[in-house]
Symmetry: C2
DNA sequence: ACTTGACCTAGAGCTCACTCTAGGATCTAG
DNA sequence: CTAGATCCTAGAGTGAGCTCTAGGTCAAGT
């Protein structure tokens, strides 16, 4: 709940969320759908400021769709790059795991650190 | 440079880095090699506290290699999970990119947001 | 000898993304 | 009607991970 309030304060909804008679937020399907994409953008590392930029474009109305597209495409490229980077990390980490496995299984110590 | 000093302060080196007569750090190959793995661990999202835990194990000397292995294996699993997660994000994001591409190319508006 | 630049320490400050607190209003079940 | 859960707002606090400042030392070039 705190998170939703935080989101709203940060201007991360595509519209001002309306309140019912008691002052409580009333979400509709479009809000929840947007949260779906929004959360994927966040999970994949898009800074809130950039999400806000996208939101501003949507709120500004039609006519800037190619700008929205560019923003999404750039992020897509970044996510692909991040995946590649993680694969590279994985190779190094798995290499070390393999070294330790050999060490633990055989009692050899090549590639394993010891304090100096 | 600030980063290296920060690392040292945080106890992220496998040994106390010695100083020369002038008080400056003298790194050796093992230090740089460790930085290589260490940076991959960081890039792939391992919290500094967990890296420090690994460092402590190494500094504690031989005998805990299986614990080090476990730590690395767990992280490897997390990295794989993160890659999977990013692929899921990518699918959603690319879906939206495709929608916008269609919209921009054809002038249709299905799946594209407009302000309310 | 002198200037310039790289490095030293200790510690303060910053950004980001939350996360919680306080004090109050509203809604729901019994 | 009442108790308790759930929500409201505004604003303060948190934690990770840097990043910079100040005041000084040291080293290399001229």
């Amino acid at each position: 709940m705190h998170a939703i309030r935080f989101f709203e304060r940060e201007g991360l909804f595509l519209r001002d969320i309306p309140r019912n008679a008691g002052g409580r937020r009333v979400f509709e399907r479009q809000d929840v759908e947007w949260l779906g994409l929004c959360n994927r953008l966040r999970e994949s590392g898009m800074p809130l400021a950039r999400i806000r930029r996208f939101v501003e474009l949507v709120r500004a109305g039609t006519g800037n769709e190619s700008e929205r597209l560019q923003l999404l495409r750039e992020h897509e490229a970044e996510v692909r790059a991040k995946i590649d980077d993680l694969h590279a990390c994985l190779a190094v980490i798995h290499g070390k795991v393999a070294t330790y496995e050999r060490h633990v299984a055989e009692g050899t110590a090549a590639g394993v650190w010891s304090p100096t």
